[in-house]
């Protein structure tokens, strides 16, 4: 009886095993890349907002402090978006005829909230707290990126667990002097642009970071119950 399978099918069988392994590997890499891509994480994606509010204009050019609008950020877990009254402290007098601002005036007249679309959002099983980070020398722009240059706000950072842990394992890489937390233009020290802390000039983050970690007694929180409580 003639053989059902030709000899070459041995080769095909081997190749197909190798092929399956490669395919699985490629699939894993592709899934991993998708999970980290802006398409999936919404990084650098701007959203349609009721009013085209610009941080570049307000926080960058006009130099308004973050806390003028995000009042709660120092003392509570959430930063909050400002109420309409905050916009009206200025826009009752300037740009009063701009159509762009009509939703703000309408909200002020009727008492119906402006509904801002949320960009940074954690799953609800995660506990996060702004006040502790702000009090321990972690700046807004470390997590929220170059917000004072953004005409429309976007999210920077995946907000995945690995993103939080990258810093929680070694905050020295990111910490800055407390006086600079709200400065949206702060840059980490370099040889050309040193940062002065308590009268000493630092030219690299490694040295400054280790000094600040000691000074602020930073912990490296990695217990699951820190963020899942």
């Amino acid at each position: 009886m003639a053989q059902i399978f030709h000899r070459s099918s041995n080769m095909i069988a081997r190749l197909s095993i190798a092929g399956a392994v490669i395919l699985l590997g490629a699939l894993t890499v592709i899934l991993y890349e998708i999970a980290l891509s802006p398409w999936y994480t919404n990084e650098r994606v701007t959203l349609q907002q009721p009013v085209p509010f610009s941080h570049r204009h307000h926080a960058g050019e006009l130099g308004i402090d973050c806390r003028y609008c995000h009042t709660a950020v120092e003392k509570s877990w959430y930063a909050g978006v400002p109420p309409t009254q905050t916009c009206m402290t200025c826009h009752s007098q300037i740009w009063t005829n701009a159509d762009m601002l009509e939703p703000v005036r309408q909200s002020y007249r009727t008492g119906v909230s402006l509904q801002w679309n949320k960009l940074n959002e954690l799953p609800e099983f995660v506990y996060f707290n702004h006040s502790i980070h702000v009090a321990k020398g972690i700046g807004c722009t470390t997590c929220h990126g170059p917000i004072a240059t953004e005409p429309m706000t976007y999210k920077t950072g995946t907000l995945y667990m690995s993103w939080c842990l990258e810093c929680h394992r070694d905050p020295a890489k990111f910490v800055r002097p407390e006086s600079e937390v709200f400065n949206p233009f702060y840059a980490q020290p370099t040889y050309g642009a040193p940062v002065t802390f308590e009268g000493v000039k630092y030219t690299d983050q490694a040295t400054l970071g280790s000094v600040l970690v000691k000074k602020y007694q930073l912990q490296t929180y990695q217990y699951c119950s820190t963020c899942h409580r």
Binding site: L62, I64, Y68, G80, P83, Q85, C90
Partner: protein, 216 residues
Amino acid sequence: MQFVEGTHAGSTAPLARRRLQMVVCLAGLALTLSGCRLDMHVQPKYLPDWPSKFFSDGRSDRPPVPGTVAREDLRIDELMYSGTENGVLSNRFPFPITRADLERGRERYNIYCSPCHDYAGTGRGMIVQRGFPQPPSYMLPRLRQAPVGHFYQVMTNGIGAMYSYSARVSPADRWRIAAYIRVLQMSQNATVQDVPAPERERLQQASTGQTPGQAQ
């Protein structure tokens, strides 16, 4: 499902292969479905600022019932909460002002007031340069002579084109800002004689001509 075929005589290979097939299929299914799992991601609860379908104004943050007194918010200290004593504007602070209070006052002033009143208090802040009505300078004799209670009341109630800051600045911080405004008023009218002797030397060395508030 039963594997009856597997029981007949001979090799158990077909059974093993089928099991493997099952496991691979189930694993694939599990992987696919786990991507859609949202339990605990969205929980039936409200956090600050969240919208609500239940209340007609669409807000989950409820305004307190009129007359409610929140914990630690009982306001019986007339001076502390209205800036007056027996109905007359007071020139006294409700608590002793320390250096730490002045520093806190400067920080709060720079956040909430400097956009219009500028860092030195002359009323030419960034927002004024963009068209906001110009506020009076704190150096005006009228405001230099005004009791501190007046500043407290302006922050609490607003005045003219300036809105109230009571929602954003706590009563104690309003007093600290008032104290810092006093500092600004003094600094703009100070002479070298007002500086303590040891500091005077340093001042003459530096002599940059800047007012303390201007350092940004």
